[in-house]
Each structure stands twice: as structure tokens, then as C-alpha cells.
């Protein structure tokens, strides 16, 4: 006859075996989530996410090419298009970093699976 303690222990092990991968996946996902404090961080996070999620994207890709690729694969890029104009004006045109909504950029970066890395431009943390 099996004691109650053995049954309890067995159930505990089964529960752990079932829920640990789920908890681990959630934890891992949280760890890889892109978080940004400004537009530049958001695009840096998107760049890293793109490199992870689209390994065949050539090293010489430009933002317009990357966004076109996302659009072709069915991703809604309207929000990114608007943010990209402001980001490029800052990045290449030397204009001040606009206080613009970048949540859409972060959303797409996270939709791509986030990133395992790294540091944003200016040393800001991008990865969780």
C-alpha cells in the first residue's frame, strides 16, 4: 500500500515537471522583452530583435528595407513608418530626439521575440 506522502510527493513532482517549463518560458520572455525609454532606444531594440528573428537579413540592411520586409510578412508598420521618419531626422539629420510615441516600435520588436542583448545607444539598457 502506497502511503499518502508518496502520492503527495509524486503529484508535486508531476506539477513541477508540468509548470516549470511554462514558468521558465514566461521568465525567459520577460528577460528578452525590449523596453525603451526613448525613440532611439526603441529602434536599437528593434534592430537587435530583427537580427535575432530574421537571420537572413543582410548585414547591410537599411531601415526602409527592414520595414518593407516586415510589411511583406504581414506586420502592420504604420506606426513604425511615422516613428522612423522622426528617428531618421534625429539619427542622420542631427535634429533633436523627438518626444514621440515609440510604443509601436517596441511592440513590433517584442512581437519578433525581443532580444537577448544589450545596450542601447548612449549606454541605455534595451534588453530586460
Amino acid at each position: 500500500m502506497v502511503s499518502d506522502q508518496v502520492i503527495l510527493g509524486g503529484l508535486l513532482i508531476i506539477n513541477l515537471a508540468l509548470y516549470f517549463p511554462l514558468v521558465w518560458a514566461v521568465f525567459k520572455r520577460r528577460k528578452h522583452r525590449v523596453s525603451a525609454s526613448n525613440l532611439a532606444d526603441a529602434f536599437n531594440g528593434l534592430e537587435l530583435a530583427l537580427k535575432d528573428a530574421v537571420p537572413d537579413l543582410p548585414a547591410g540592411f537599411t531601415w526602409e528595407e527592414a520595414v518593407a520586409r516586415l510589411r511583406a510578412s504581414g506586420v502592420q508598420t504604420k506606426g513604425i513608418d511615422q516613428a522612423l521618419n522622426s528617428y531618421q531626422a534625429y539619427r542622420y539629420g542631427g535634429l533633436p530626439l523627438p518626444d514621440q510615441d515609440f510604443l509601436e516600435v517596441v511592440r513590433v520588436a517584442n512581437m519578433l521575440g525581443g532580444t537577448t542583448a544589450a545596450k542601447g545607444r548612449g549606454g541605455r539598457s534595451v534588453g530586460g
Binding site: F43, T62, R91, Y92
Partner: protein, 311 residues
């Protein structure tokens, strides 16, 4: 303003030239960047019509010169003739004194004529027997050549090809565009139907604006990396010259302006790199025999895919 001008020019020329929006864009970029264009294509693909319509819609003087093997530098540049009235030699201007010079079938002219023309293209002036005359503003040479002719032609050497800011290859139109061309030709069309949509003052302002388009240091470094990659590419014996890179930079600025921006992005450079650089790259025949790509455009695309732009 520049973006509006672009839209107006494309739409006006589109009245008689179908499916050549990209070519019109390149012509406009080149004009604003003070460059010259080489049009390459088989006969009958609207090279001459496009050049004529382009100058007409900008309200510029247009002169066409058919290059032949017996043409002389004098026939292009002009020269001194004796005036019997005042019994003095005086300079008579040649057809080069215009805004848009269409040098039709440039590779039919002997090298002496080609080099005389190309010198003027570079210096924007004509010097004959110590007498110098400045060319009009704006001045652009649109030269054409047929890629399939080998008999009775004098191919432009690399040094002279380098003077052309862009080479536009005119391919046959798609079936859809071909149908539109045929439909358009059901009723008579004439280049005289093209209206002037840009004034000389506007054009002058745009040329000046190109010089104010910002190019960041990172973008300059990116261009230098691309140049270096073309020079160290194993399948090329001749990469992009410094002049080629300067012209790519100028053309990118014009593209940025025509797209309504005041700064150059890596997309500006990548979008026109093939048009500006391909005709200056020389394939290594030995590498080509070993099965490496013989197409300079494919090699350039591979280089651009490898060189990381600032992001």
C-alpha cells in the same frame, strides 16, 4: 518644394513617356547634382523622347547632336571663323552652348571628339585656342549609346565613363507598360504637348538647396567603407574611384531633397549606388572565367549587403 517639383515633372513627362518614372527621377537628380547622364539601350526605347520631354518641361534649351565617325570637335564646341565685315576672327559657339545637350550615339564619334566633349563636361567651359567661354547654367549632357553595336563604334574608355554621374540602362518595357504605350499612340502625341512646369529660378534654388542637404560623418564613413569594399573585391580589377564616390554623395543629396528631406539616409545611397557606380566597375576576366559573377550590378549588390550602414 523639391518634392512638388519632382511630382510635377514626373506627371508632365508621363503625358508622353510611359513607365519611365525611375529614369525621370534619375535625370532630375543628376541635373540638381550637376552631373551628366549616359543612357544605354537598344533603339526605340524612348531615350531621345525622354531627353527632349525632360528639357521641355523644365523650360531649358535643348540641342541634339547626332554623333558620327566624321564629326570634329569644332562641330560640338564651336571655333574661330573669319568675319569678312570687320575682318577679324571671332568665336562662333557650337551646339554645346545649350542647357541640355543630347549627344546621340556618343560611341560613334572618334575619341578626339569624345574627349573634347568630356573635358567641357568636367570644367563647364570651352577653351579653344586660348579663348575660354563658360557654358550655360544649368548644363547637362545626356549621351546615348546602343549596347549591341560593335562595328564602327569607339567604346568610351573607363576614364571617360567615369565623367558620367549615372548610367541609365533602358530595358524593354513590361507587357503592361507596352500596352499603355500602344494605347497612348492610338492618338497622335507630340513633345510640344509638354508644358514647362518649373521656372529657371526654381531650378537654380533647388541646385543650391542640394548643397545644404546634411550628410553626417557616419554617412561619410559608410561611403568610404563601400568605396574600399569595391576596391578590395576579388572579382573586380577596378573599383569605384574617389570621383565616383563624390558623385554618389552629390546624387544622394539630390535624391534626399527630391524626397522632401534635408539629410541623406543610407537608403538614398543604396537606392542609386547601382546607377552611379556600376558603369565604373571593371570585372576581373580571370575571376569571371572561374565562375564568379560577371555582372557588376550583382557584385555591387553583394557588397552593399555586406557593408553595414549606420542605423
Amino acid at each position: 518644394m523639391a518634392a512638388d517639383v519632382r511630382t510635377k515633372v514626373v506627371s508632365e513627362i508621363g503625358k508622353i513617356v510611359v513607365g519611365r518614372e525611375r529614369e525621370i527621377d534619375l535625370l532630375l537628380m543628376c541635373l540638381l547634382a550637376r552631373g551628366h547622364v549616359l543612357l544605354e539601350g537598344v533603339p526605340g526605347v524612348s531615350k531621345t523622347l525622354l531627353a527632349n520631354a525632360f528639357s521641355r518641361c523644365l523650360g531649358l534649351q535643348f540641342t541634339r547632336v547626332q554623333f558620327t565617325p566624321d564629326i570634329l570637335p569644332l562641330d560640338i564646341l564651336g571655333g574661330f571663323v573669319f568675319n569678312l565685315k570687320n575682318r577679324e576672327f571671332e568665336f562662333r559657339k557650337g551646339p554645346i552652348f545649350t542647357n541640355i545637350l543630347l549627344a546621340d550615339e556618343i560611341n560613334r564619334a572618334p575619341p578626339k571628339v569624345q574627349s573634347a566633349l568630356l573635358e567641357s563636361m568636367q570644367e563647364l567651359q570651352v577653351t579653344v585656342e586660348g579663348y575660354t567661354e563658360t557654358l550655360l547654367f544649368p548644363f547637362m549632357v545626356i549621351a546615348t549609346q546602343n549596347p549591341l553595336e560593335f562595328e564602327g563604334v569607339y567604346p568610351l574608355p573607363e576614364g571617360q565613363l567615369d565623367r558620367f554621374m549615372v548610367k541609365i540602362s533602358f530595358k524593354y518595357p513590361t507587357q503592361e507598360v507596352e500596352s499603355s504605350i500602344l494605347k497612348r499612340n492610338l492618338s497622335s502625341i507630340d513633345v510640344a504637348d509638354i508644358n514647362t512646369v518649373v521656372t529657371l529660378a526654381e531650378l537654380d534654388a533647388l541646385v543650391r538647396e542640394v548643397e545644404n542637404v546634411k550628410v553626417s560623418d557616419e554617412m561619410i564613413a559608410y561611403l568610404a567603407r563601400v568605396a574600399s569594399a569595391t576596391r578590395t573585391e576579388g572579382s573586380l580589377v577596378l573599383g569605384a574611384s574617389p570621383r565616383a564616390m563624390v558623385q554618389l554623395l552629390r546624387c544622394s543629396r539630390a535624391r534626399a531633397l527630391l524626397n522632401g528631406r534635408t539629410y541623406v539616409t543610407p537608403d538614398d545611397i543604396k537606392a542609386i549606388a547601382s546607377d552611379v557606380l556600376t558603369h565604373r566597375l571593371t570585372i576581373d576576366r580571370a575571376a569571371a572565367l572561374k565562375g564568379v559573377s560577371k555582372d557588376p550590378e550583382a557584385i555591387l549588390t553583394a557588397i552593399l549587403d555586406r557593408v553595414e550602414p549606420p542605423r
